[in-house]
């Protein structure tokens, strides 16, 4: 299936084209951006529809011997459809939001899209690392785009741990290649058990640590709040929805394929990841309450949500994998809605401090409703989508008789409610509205539409969870039994 490669080529090519176009003539750049983004989404839609029936495979450049493949299975479909949804919304939102370094911003955005698309469809460690680094470097640069003190500081705090994480991923890849002689995931899945146990565990450590830095598991999360503070808001949406989820997907593929689920459970990885996840939930939520800056607050909330997302797959059961994947999807939507609506509130309040949001509930009724809906969703209250995925996670933990994470999931909901309630009450408290100026940028639909769309998705996916579950229910098939994955490849 040749079209797969265009998932990467299209945004990458657009990035180069944009650079040239900005150099000569700026007028058509926006239409080029829009056309390319919509084409990409259309391509994703088209490919995903086929990949749902049977995973699609493409071998770029006939590197069969090393096992270099691109693969679109249902796990990739999940992330790809998120990309196809969030990137256009972020681009639309950016038109009003990003006011300087516009050219560089869009170029980097497309490189980021290419990196993420590549990362979720590679079936080998070599491409994985390449796209991993493309994504990372694009993200570092995007954080620095506003050129404010906070964003430079955020970049610095992001780039150093990020690079260290990349280094360990690379070390893990090198060790794996040395031990098995393969780069393709299928080949490694077949022969990983032949590596000496010490090396095996070291490799797993390196991967968990390297990707863990990107996933922002506590205490490896420290870069995330700092980078969110200064970064452009649409990037934060992509970061919460895609940039921290793509490494998780890679990590899960590696863990599930290299080791089998029984080995994950018995080898201490379940316990380790659950412990990290629980710590992430607790620390993330409690620290979020302390924040006055809405960006930092939402950043810590993202950190905490990653805890839920890791706990599910850490159980190494089918139910856990499904619950975690659904929460990954839901979190991307909820956090997108929260960031987008918070952006409008920030514009109206002219401040990022939540204490300045007083009384904006009545002057921004729709946007505040969107914020409240997505906030209730992320807390995990019915009938919104967060409830469904937390319910599935809870059920999965109870099924595998892990009572501590079950308790932590419930406790986490309570802790997150505390700080979201704080914002809700501030939003809906009464205040003399004399200070609000006539100029009302918050009335612009390019900012409102993404927020409203995502928050209505939060409600719809809560009422009809079977829609995303159609994709997600197929995920365990290729991960739980590595033989199913190996058979996808020629010679498997």
């Amino acid at each position: 299936m040749n079209a797969i490669i265009y998932l990467v080529v299209l945004p990458l090519g657009t990035a180069f084209l944009l650079g040239i176009l900005y150099f000569f003539k700026k007028t058509y750049s926006r239409s080029l951006i829009l056309v390319s983004v919509l084409l990409h989404s259309g391509l994703i839609f088209w490919i995903s529809r086929q990949a749902l029936f049977e995973p699609l495979l493409y071998s770029p450049g006939d590197w069969d011997r090393l096992g270099i493949f691109l693969l679109v299975d249902s796990f990739s479909v999940l992330m790809l459809s998120l990309t196809g949804l969030l990137v256009p919304l972020a681009v639309i939102y950016s038109w009003r939001w990003v006011d300087h370094n516009e050219a560089k911003y869009y170029i980097l955005l497309f490189i980021l899209t290419a990196g993420i698309s590549g990362m979720v469809i590679t079936a080998d460690l070599f491409n994985l690392f390449v796209f991993f680094e493309i994504t990372s470097i694009a993200s570092y640069a995007l954080v620095a785009i506003p050129k404010k003190d906070a964003s430079i500081e955020g970049t610095l705090k992001y780039i150093i741990p990020g690079t260290i994480g990349g280094l360990f991923v690379l070390a893990g890849i090198i060790l794996t290649y040395q031990g098995t002689g393969h780069l393709g995931l299928a080949g490694i899945a077949r022969e990983f058990h032949l590596i000496p146990e010490l090396i095996q565990k070291t490799i797993i450590t390196f991967f968990v640590f390297g990707f863990g830095l990107k996933i922002a598991l506590v205490p490896l999360h420290t870069w995330l709040p700092d980078s969110y503070t200064g970064a452009p808001l649409p990037y934060n949406v992509l970061s919460s929805g895609l940039v921290i989820n793509a490494p998780l997907l890679a990590l899960l593929r590696i863990l599930y394929l290299f080791l089998n689920p029984e080995l994950i459970q018995s080898g201490g990885i379940t316990g380790l990841l659950i412990m990290l996840g629980a710590l992430t939930i607790i620390v993330g939520h409690i620290t979020a309450y302390q924040q006055d800056n809405i960006m930092r607050l939402l950043a810590y909330s993202s950190v905490a949500q990653m805890g839920y997302i890791i706990i599910g797959p850490a159980l190494a059961t089918e139910a856990g994998l499904i619950g975690g994947s659904l929460h990954m999807l839901n979190h991307a939507l909820m956090k997108g809605a929260l960031f987008f609506s918070a952006g409008l509130i920030i514009i109206k309040a002219r401040s990022r401090n939540i204490n300045d949001f007083q009384g904006l509930g009545s002057s921004l009724p729709l946007v505040s409703a969107a914020f409240v809906i997505s906030g209730l969703a992320i807390v995990g209250l019915p009938p919104f989508n967060g409830f469904v995925s937390k319910l599935l996670l809870l059920q999965a933990t109870l099924e595998s008789e892990q009572f501590l994470p079950a308790l932590i999931i419930l406790l986490g909901s309570f802790l997150s409610l505390i700080y979201y309630l704080k914002i809700f009450t501030i939003l809906y408290s009464k205040k003399g509205s004399s200070e609000i100026k006539k100029y009302d940028p918050a009335g612009l639909w390019s900012l409102k539409a993404p927020a409203l769309l995502l928050s209505s998705l939060c409600l719809i996916l809560g009422l009809v969870p079977s829609l995303p579950l159609k994709i997600i229910n197929k995920i365990p098939h290729h991960l739980m039994e590595s033989i199913n994955f190996i058979e996808l490849f020629p010679g498997g």
């Binding site: 450590t205 205490p219 490896l220 420290t222 409690i286 309450y289 019915p382 909901s413």
Partner: protein, 531 residues
């Protein structure tokens, strides 16, 4: 058609309507629900599948119908009552709140039960938040957090039960009872976790407190009826809760706070019946609950009228209203008669039925609680209407008809089941022996008067012999520290302390962050090697 869904649609529909018509949309949807509920066929159900669960969104049986009718009636009264002072969001939130309560009442499975249980919390939170007073902000947060604890433990209990049994039918849970008891306890304001109740209801505007008082706690005890097996500890727990409620009510000074403690007392009373093994007394308890809903709504309305008329609600600032508000006084007397279970009222009948199946221990307990309740009513009635105030209570404005008319409707409802109990019996499918009881035989009449007499004697004795302080009639009695102690509010301090520590550790020092990172790297490596 599901009555709850009608109300939910009515609530959402008011979003589209102009401000003038919002009230009528809410009213019509309420009336529609009221008309529909009695026509439903017991045994009807709607099933559908959600995720992997087979759910019953809607299941009709006698108890649910009775609860539904009474809740809708009370809600309609409260809606009429609120018309004077409600803002436009009230007509969105109040029907949502009422609708989700009806969804809980008619739920046929645990997940539906839980979902609408939480929706009740959400809608009532925004109802509280919607009011203009500044203090309601913190009150609302407190209310929501407390109910969130309850909701989450209900979810935990339901999922544990599902793991054990593999089904979600609405039936007494087989596993996870401690969590369930916590959830139900918080919802029904069991003593010890009751702190949200007086805090919330006495601080919101009066029309909202009328509305809140109808649903939240009552749905809690309805949950006990549905989800808990009868057990002795319910009897003793209910007794403790009720008697402590009496003591707290006697110590309280604010009109609505007293009514809140009186709710706690009455729900404790119903809980005693839920704990007894006999079906008749459980059903009788439920019937008593329905009567309680009506007269308690009435009493909250009366307190609203007093607040409207005088602008005050502290007992030591009120007094001598008998001459100024005779209509209100008569309504209070009738509502108190219902609360005391005097003949001709509905609670008289249900009291006889619930006592049919009891042994002597709980019987005495119930009588004690009744005495306490009446004592509280005597205190309130005396302080508000009879007591001579040195400076006359300022009578600001005359309550308009729109506040008084709903009282008339509900007062008439008090007596309907008392005079014509047959339809209720049929719905509850009570046995023949109960139907053949003659309710007005001298024994029952005498035993219904007993607690009133005892309480009256106690009150007079207390009044003259000098424990006026105990009855809470002296000014200044309410400043007792232990009465205001709230462990849940104290725990906020520790929560903030932990949070401050966490954000203190996140000081932005990159070298510290890298130090953490490498430690965790070592930790991962060692913990994996250890296996």
């Amino acid at each position: 058609m599901h009555p709850g869904i009608i109300l939910l649609i009515g609530g959402l529909g008011s979003l589209l309507a102009r401000k003038k018509y919002k009230f009528f949309i809410a009213l019509i949807s309420g009336l529609a629900a009221l008309v529909i509920i009695p026509t439903l066929n017991p045994g009807a159900y709607w099933s559908f599948s959600y995720l992997d669960f087979e759910l019953l969104l809607f299941r009709v049986d006698g108890p649910a119908q009775i609860m539904g009718v009474v809740l809708t009636l009370a809600a309609l009264g409260a809606l009429l009552f609120a018309r004077l002072s409600a803002g436009s969001k009230f007509y969105l939130l109040a029907p949502l709140y009422a609708g989700s309560s009806l969804m809980v009442v008619f739920a046929g499975d645990l997940l539906t039960f839980f979902v609408f249980w939480e929706l009740m919390t959400i809608s009532s939170f925004f109802l509280i938040l919607n009011s203009r007073q500044r203090r309601t902000k913190k009150t609302g947060i407190y209310y929501f957090l407390m109910h969130m604890v309850g909701g989450l433990s209900l979810l935990g209990a339901v999922m544990v039960h599902y793991g054990e049994t593999g089904h979600l039918m609405l039936a007494p849970l087989q596993a996870g009872q401690p969590w369930l008891i916590l959830a139900l306890g918080i919802k029904m304001a069991f003593i010890g976790v009751h702190t949200w109740l007086p805090r919330t209801y006495s601080r919101v505007p009066y029309h909202i407190s009328v509305f809140l008082a109808i649903f939240t706690t009552k749905i809690g005890i309805y949950g006990v009826f549905r989800l808990l097996e009868p057990h002795n500890f319910l009897i003793w727990g209910g007794g403790c809760s009720a008697l402590l409620g009496v003591i707290l009510a006697l110590r309280a000074n604010k009109l609505r706070t007293i009514l809140c403690y009186s709710i706690i007392t009455k729900l404790g009373y119903v809980l005693v019946t839920m704990g007894s093994g006999s079906w008749i007394s459980r059903i009788g308890g439920l019937m008593y609950l329905t009567n309680h809903i009506i007269y308690k709504t009435l009493l909250f309305m009366i307190s609203g009228i007093i607040i409207y008329a005088t602008g005050k609600e502290k007992l030591d600032q009120l007094g001598g209203l008998a001459g100024k508000m005779p209509f209100t006084m008569v309504c209070t007397l009738l509502a108190s008669a219902a609360a005391a279970g005097l003949p001709l009222t509905g609670s008289y009948i249900s009291k006889i039925i619930l006592k049919e199946g009891l042994t002597s221990g709980p019987y005495i307990l119930l009588t004690l609680i009744e005495v306490g309740t009446i004592l509280v009513f005597l205190k309130v009635f005396y302080s508000v209407f009879l007591k001579k105030q040195k400076r006359n209570t300022v009578f600001r404005k005359k309550p308009p008809l729109s506040l008084q008319a709903p009282l008339l409707i509900l007062v008439s409802v008090i007596f309907i089941p008392g005079l014509r109990p047959k339809p209720v019996f049929n719905l509850m499918e009570l046995e023949e022996t109960v139907l053949e009881l003659s309710f007005f035989q001298p024994y029952f009449l005498w035993s219904s008067l007993q607690p009133v007499l005892i309480a009256g004697l106690l009150f007079v004795a207390g009044y003259f012999v000098g424990s006026r302080d105990f009855l809470g009639l002296e000014p200044g009695f309410q400043h007792r520290k232990y009465l205001n102690f709230d462990p849940y509010l104290q725990s906020k301090k520790y929560y903030l302390l932990v949070g401050e520590k966490f954000s203190y550790w996140h000081n932005g020092d990159l070298s510290r962050y890298l130090f953490w990172a490498f430690n965790i790297l070592l930790f991962i490596w060692i913990s994996l090697l250890w296996r």
